[in-house]
């Protein structure tokens, strides 16, 4: 770990494909790299079918079986950070268009041969009406064209997901509600089908023991990543102080998110966690628990802290919370101020460039100030992520 403070982490992407990215992470320690891996696998929200209402099922598979299989179908979830709410954060009672997506499947076999029901038969219901509408929001405008559709529905090159097979006379008719969630709740919400993670391909650090009959080197094949490292010399003494510093990742997504979005969201998610921890340490009640409106008084703080050299400066409550809003998120969501990093100009902050120009900084600190209860950017609340979600622009430029 020694020395990593000075050396900045570096990353080298070896390969990007539509659904995977292979990169090498250097100058970080094992715990850091592992946390990145864990965050990418389990902390990124996506959309997946969560509730299934079966109207007719005369296939050979029982309802539960089919419901489970439906849950596993990856749905396009690009920018689901902003495009959809968690039902638990929504004002509706059980689901509305802002926190869920409805899909229907209605297939019957009339031919004299086996028919395959696949994810391509799932149709998103466009304008569905729910009994209870949640508080209106701008989520719908943030959704991409295919938001919530099964991955690869319009792509002939991608084989669809087989849900069940049926013979003549059988029918399957059902209604699904897809919701936003993270893989900690259920693995179906994981954007990744696999994240491979390797370090020390020669086992120089002896973090593992290679069992062998006669010759370890002959019996244990080297991975591709071994080409990146020096093979150990025969006279090399074991360096028991050595620490791993080079990590080989391959993040493979299931298509619900692109590899770029998955990785970037994972990093952002880690930062959110840390920021919440800092906020938790900083905010014994008096400062951050002020009602949102009072944060308006704080702009002086908010202003001073960032210009004083960064968000890292210990500032008092309001000041502290404000810089984070724009500083850490690679750009705060357009709704949330951000003198950060978005393209258009016209912002209060010189270097800052926020997409919508009405982001005066004062307003920003009111919103960004930790305690504001409104869901969008109070990052102390449960809906934290939204506050500094990746900005729309950025997300749009990502590929899925």
């Amino acid at each position: 770990m020694q020395g990593y403070e000075e050396a900045e982490p570096t990353v080298r992407i070896r390969e990007v494909k539509k659904d995977r990215v292979n990169f090498v992470l250097e100058n970080v320690d094992l715990a850091f790299a592992n946390s990145v891996r864990r965050a990418v696998m389990a902390d990124i929200p996506t959309i997946a079918i969560d509730i299934v209402e079966i109207e007719a099922n005369t296939t050979v598979l029982p309802d539960e079986f089919i419901a489970h299989r439906l849950g596993m179908v990856p749905l396009v979830s690009a920018n689901c950070e902003e495009g959809i709410r968690y039902t638990r954060d929504c004002t509706c009672l059980s689901g509305c268009q802002y926190c869920s997506i409805e899909l229907r499947l209605d297939v019957a076999c009339h031919e004299n041969r086996t028919m395959e029901v696949t994810s391509n038969h799932l149709d998103v219901v466009d304008s569905h009406t729910y009994a209870d509408e949640g508080e209106a929001g701008e989520e719908l405008t943030k959704r991409g064209e295919n938001f919530g559709h099964p991955v690869g529905k319009d792509d002939v090159s991608l084989p669809p997901v087989l849900i069940c097979k049926m013979r003549k006379g059988q029918e399957l008719k059902l209604r699904c509600i897809a919701k936003k969630g993270i893989a900690k709740e259920h693995a179906k919400w994981s954007p990744c089908s696999a994240v491979s993670f390797e370090y020390d391909p020669y086992n120089k650090l002896r973090h593992t023991t290679h069992w062998f009959e006669t010759d370890e080197r002959a019996e244990w094949p080297l991975s591709e990543n071994a080409k990146e490292e020096e093979p150990p010399r025969d006279d090399e003494v074991f360096d028991f102080n050595a620490k791993p510093g080079k990590f080989y990742f391959e993040v493979e997504t299931d298509g619900s998110l692109g590899p770029q979005e998955a990785v970037m969201r994972g990093l952002a998610e880690l930062q959110t966690k840390l920021a919440n921890l800092i906020l938790g340490l900083k905010s014994p009640p008096e400062l951050d628990m002020l009602p949102g409106g009072d944060q308006g008084m704080a702009p002086p703080n908010g202003h001073v802290a960032p210009s004083g050299g960064g968000w890292g400066q210990p500032a008092t409550g309001g000041g502290w919370a404000s810089p984070t809003a724009g500083g850490w998120g690679d750009a705060a969501a357009p709704t949330s101020n951000a003198w950060g990093t978005s393209p258009a100009s016209g912002n209060a902050w010189g270097g800052g460039t926020s997409p919508n120009s009405n982001n005066a900084w004062g307003g920003a600190s009111a919103g960004g100030g930790g305690a504001s209860p409104n869901a969008n950017n109070a990052w102390g609340t449960s809906s934290t992520q939204q506050g500094w979600a990746s900005p729309t622009q950025q997300t749009n430029s990502w590929i899925h």
Partner: protein, 142 residues
């Protein structure tokens, strides 16, 4: 039927404090942090960074029970700074590293072209001139 909501494993309850600090009564300059609704992802990373700081004598974390969604982080310092400050510095540093990494990822991704990729970077990878905070850190400049 009476199963608790699964999201209670990672979402703070209403009014629940994310961190509880209890100072050690027997060991000088030591404190235990109970970090709610977090797991090894945060715990191990923070532990490693805290431990790497020169003022820290001890840092360790544990998840007492896999079904209980919190972890304990114990930090002892040499007395020049309090464990709280050390933890905060470590987190700040980590966020710095992550932001750097994020910027580098962004740059790398913009170099690698994928089919259907938008090649031009709407944010401009060249950086914003005259950043008000001008700290020389470049994780904000994409």
């Amino acid at each position: 039927m009476n199963a608790p909501n699964r999201f209670e494993l990672f979402v703070l309850d209403d009014g629940e404090k994310p961190v509880e600090v209890s100072e050690d009564t027997k060991i000088p300059n030591a404190a235990t942090f109970k970090i709610m609704k977090q797991d090894h992802t945060l715990g191990n990373m923070v532990r490693a960074y805290v431990l790497a700081m020169p003022q820290v004598l001890f840092a360790g974390y544990k998840v007492p029970h896999p079904l209980h969604p919190y972890f304990l982080l114990k930090i002892q310092t040499d007395g020049t700074v309090t464990p709280q400050v050390v933890l905060e510095q470590a987190c700040t540093k980590l966020i710095g590293s992550l932001s750097t990494l994020e910027a580098k990822f962004k740059r790398e991704f913009s170099f690698k072209d994928v089919e259907g990729a938008v090649t031009e970077d709407p944010y401009g990878t060249t950086g914003t001139s005259g950043q008000p905070w001008g700290s020389g850190r470049d994780y904000l400049d994409f």
